[in-house]
C-alpha cells in the first residue's frame, strides 16, 4: 500500500476552511432537511428530546457533544435506520424537500435511497471492491454502464487510483482508511442527496482521517453531509454549521439527549451563546 502517502499531509489547522471567504454565507443555503421538535424513543425511554434544526443543502452539518447525548440517535433518525431497532420510534417531524419522511405512505427504502449513510467502523461487504460499489447500483436498478458508474463512484471517493488495478480483490483486504473510502464510494454510487456520517474517522489514523476530511469537503459541492463526531477539531475543520447536543438528567433522574445550540460553526466555536456549549468546547465538560 504505497499509494497512501503521495498526498499532502493532514490539515491539523485547516484555517483556510474557516475564513469567511471560503464559506457559504451563514444562512444562505436552503434547508434540504428540517427537524422540528424531534424526539426519539427506545421503548419508553426518550433518548433525545425535542431537537429542532435545519440541514442545509451543499453544506456539512456537524453534530457534536459528549457520549450519550443522542447525536448518533438523531443522525439515524434522518434516514429511518432506527426503524430497524425494535421498539424505536420518532415523534416530531423530519422533512426532506418538505416531505415528512415518517409519513404513513413513505417507504423507508426510498428514504435511504436519497439519504445514505457511512458508519463508524468501515464495513465493506465481504465481496470484491467492484461488487461492493456495484451492489447499491444493482439493487436500485440504476441504468447505465456498470463499469463507468463504479469508476465514477470510486473516483468520487478518491479511491480509484489506489484500487483500479485490483477491483476484483476483496474490499476487506484494503486498509482501514481505504475501506472507509470504499464505503463512501458505495454510498455515492447511488447518488443520494444527503450523506449521513456517523463518526466516520473514529477508527482511522490521522492521515486517513485527513483524507476523509478532504474528501468530505469535495463531496459537499454535490452532496449535503451530516456528520456526527466526537472530535471537536474535526467539526471545526470541516463543517459549516454545528449542532451541539448534551445529555441532561430530568426531574425523574432519567437522562435525555438535548440539542443545546445550533449555529454557524465559526460562531459556535468562537462565540457560543450557551454556557454549556462553551464549557464543552473549551474542554471543561464532557
Amino acid at each position: 500500500m504505497t499509494a497512501t502517502n503521495d498526498r499532502p499531509a493532514v490539515h491539523i489547522d485547516a484555517g483556510w476552511r474557516h475564513d469567511g471567504a471560503e464559506r457559504q454565507p451563514a444562512d444562505g443555503g436552503a434547508a434540504l432537511m428540517e427537524l422540528r421538535d424531534v424526539s426519539v424513543f427506545y421503548g419508553d425511554y426518550e433518548a433525545v428530546r425535542g431537537a429542532t434544526l435545519p440541514v442545509r443543502q451543499n453544506e456539512i452539518t456537524a453534530m457534536i457533544g459528549p457520549s450519550g447525548c443522542g447525536k448518533s440517535t438523531i443522525l439515524r433518525a434522518l434516514n429511518r435506520m432506527n426503524d430497524l431497532i425494535r421498539g424505536a420510534r420518532v415523534t416530531g417531524t423530519i422533512t426532506y424537500l418538505g416531505q415528512d419522511i415518517y409519513a404513513r405512505d413513505v417507504d423507508p427504502i426510498q428514504v435511504r435511497r436519497q439519504i445514505g449513510m457511512v458508519f463508524q467502523k468501515p464495513n465493506p461487504f465481504p465481496k470484491s471492491i467492484y461488487e461492493n460499489v456495484a451492489y447499491g447500483i444493482k439493487i436500485n436498478n440504476i441504468k447505465g454502464n456498470m463499469d463507468d458508474m463504479v469508476e465514477e463512484a470510486l473516483t468520487g471517493a478518491a479511491l480509484w487510483d489506489e484500487v483500479k488495478d485490483k477491483l476484483k480483490t476483496s474490499g476487506m483486504a484494503l486498509s482501514g482508511g481505504q475501506q472507509q473510502r470504499l464505503c463512501i464510494a458505495r454510498t455515492i454510487a447511488i447518488k443520494p442527496a444527503v450523506i449521513l456520517m456517523d463518526e466516520p474517522c473514529s477508527a482511522l489514523d490521522p492521515i486517513a482521517t485527513g483524507r476523509i476530511e478532504d474528501l468530505m469537503y469535495e463531496l459537499c459541492k454535490q452532496y449535503t453531509i451530516v456528520i456526527v463526531t466526537h472530535n471537536m477539531q474535526q467539526a471545526a475543520r470541516v463543517s459549516h454549521h454545528t449542532a451541539f447536543f448534551t445529555a441532561e438528567v430530568d426531574e425523574k433522574q432519567v437522562r435525555h439527549g438535548r440539542l443545546v445550540e445550533f449555529g454557524e460553526t465559526g460562531r459556535i466555536f468562537t462565540n457560543p451563546k450557551d454556557p454549556r456549549t462553551e464549557g464543552y468546547i473549551t474542554g471543561r465538560f464532557g
Binding site: I109, F119, I139, N140, S170, M172
Partner: protein, 332 residues
C-alpha cells in the same frame, strides 16, 4: 486515603522451563485426544481395506467401472462385482435430497434469524431438533407405509404429464407400483438432513455482523436484497459446510434408504425407478453376501463410499477457501 505501602524489592525471574506443569499436562491430554481420533480413522481404513482386499483384487478396475453386481456363480461363471450402479444410486439419492433439503433448510434458517418473532423462534427450533431425534428406521418404515404409496399417485401424474417430453420424460418415467425408488428415498433423506443443515446455517447467519446488514439497508436494500448482499456473502463458507455435512449424511444414510429405494441394481435416468445405494446394498446383503468373496466385496463398497466422501469434503474445503480469499481477502 489508602496507605501506600512500600513495594517489595524487585524479584529476579524464576526459571520454570516451558510453562507450568498444569499447562504441559493439559496440552498432553489435548494432543492425545486429537491423536486418538486420527488413530481410529487410520485403524478403520487399514482394517476395512484389508478385509476388502480379496474382492478388490478379484474384481480389479471393474469394481468401479462395471454396473453389474452378481454375487453368485451363474452357469459356471464366477461372481461379478461392479459398484457403478450403486455409486449412481448414491449420487442420485444425494442430489435429490439436497435439491429438496437445501432451499428448505436455508429458508427455515433465514426465517428464524431474520423474520420470526422471538416467541416463535424457540418453538420452531425445538420442533426441528425433534425431527433430528427420530430414528432413521422409523423414517424408513414411514416411507414404505405412508410416503411411498401416497407419492405413487403424484409420480403417475408427473409421468403422465411430462413423460412424452424428450429429456424430462426420461427423468419422470414409469413409477414402481410400491412407490419405492430413488425419488422416495431422496425425499425421505431430505427430511432427515433438514435439521442438521438448518441448525448450522442458522448459527452461521446469526454471526453476520449488524454493521453489514445496516450497510445494505442504508443503501436502500429491501430485506431480501440485504440477505443477498450481506448475509449470503458473509455466510458462504458456513453454508457450504452445512450442505457438506448434510451431503455426508445423505450419502451414508443406510436403513431408511434401504427400506425405501426398492433394491434394484440398475442405472436409469428414471427417478421413479427402484435402485440401490452403496450403503443400502451393504445393509440389505450383509446377512447373505453370496459366494466368496461376497462379504469382502460389500466391505469394499464401504471403502469406496468412504473414499468418495473424503474426496467431496476435500473439494468443498478448497471451494470454501478460494471463496473466502475472493470475498474476505487473504486473511480470512
Amino acid at each position: 486515603m489508602t496507605q501506600i505501602t512500600d513495594r517489595p524489592p524487585a524479584q529476579p525471574l524464576t526459571a520454570r522451563g516451558r510453562g507450568a506443569a498444569s499447562d504441559r499436562a493439559f496440552s498432553a491430554v489435548s494432543l492425545a485426544a486429537g491423536a486418538l481420533v486420527l488413530a481410529i480413522l487410520v485403524l478403520i481404513l487399514v482394517t476395512t481395506l484389508r478385509e476388502a482386499w480379496p474382492a478388490l483384487k478379484y474384481a480389479g478396475l471393474g469394481f468401479v467401472t462395471s454396473p453389474s453386481w452378481v454375487p453368485l456363480e451363474v452357469d459356471g461363471a464366477g461372481p461379478v462385482y461392479g459398484a457403478l450402479s450403486f455409486v449412481y444410486g448414491t449420487t442420485v439419492v444425494s442430489i435429490i435430497a439436497l435439491i429438496f433439503a437445501v432451499p428448505i433448510s436455508i429458508g427455515i434458517a433465514l426465517f428464524l434469524t431474520e423474520l420470526a418473532p422471538t416467541r416463535l423462534r424457540s418453538t420452531v427450533v425445538t420442533v426441528i431438533d425433534l425431527l433430528a431425534s427420530i430414528p432413521s428406521v422409523v423414517f424408513g418404515l414411514w416411507g414404505i407405509i405412508v410416503v411411498g404409496p401416497a407419492l405413487v399417485k403424484v409420480y403417475n401424474g408427473l409421468h403422465g404429464a411430462l413423460g412424452d417430453i424428450p429429456v424430462l420424460g426420461s427423468l419422470f418415467g414409469e413409477p414402481v407400483s410400491s412407490g419405492r425408488g430413488f425419488m422416495t428415498a431422496g425425499m425421505i433423506v431430505a427430511i432427515m438432513i433438514i435439521p442438521i443443515i438448518t441448525s448450522i446455517t442458522r448459527e452461521v447467519f446469526a454471526t453476520v455482523p449488524d454493521a453489514d446488514k445496516q450497510a445494505a439497508y442504508a443503501l436502500g436494500a429491501t430485506q431480501w436484497e440485504m440477505i443477498r448482499g450481506a448475509v449470503f456473502p458473509h455466510s458462504f463458507g458456513g453454508m457450504v459446510g452445512a450442505v457438506m455435512l448434510g451431503l455426508g449424511r445423505a450419502m451414508g444414510e443406510t436403513i431408511a434408504v434401504a427400506l425405501t429405494i426398492g433394491a434394484a441394481t440398475q442405472i436409469t435416468p428414471n427417478l421413479f425407478a427402484a435402485g440401490n445405494t452403496l450403503a443400502s446394498v451393504i445393509a440389505l446383503n450383509f446377512g447373505d453376501p453370496g459366494v466368496p468373496p461376497g462379504r469382502s466385496a460389500l466391505i469394499a463398497l464401504g471403502v469406496l463410499l468412504f473414499a468418495i466422501t473424503v474426496v467431496i469434503n476435500y473439494a468443498a474445503a478448497v471451494v470454501v477457501r478460494r471463496a473466502d480469499v475472493r470475498m474476505k481477502g487473504a486473511s480470512a
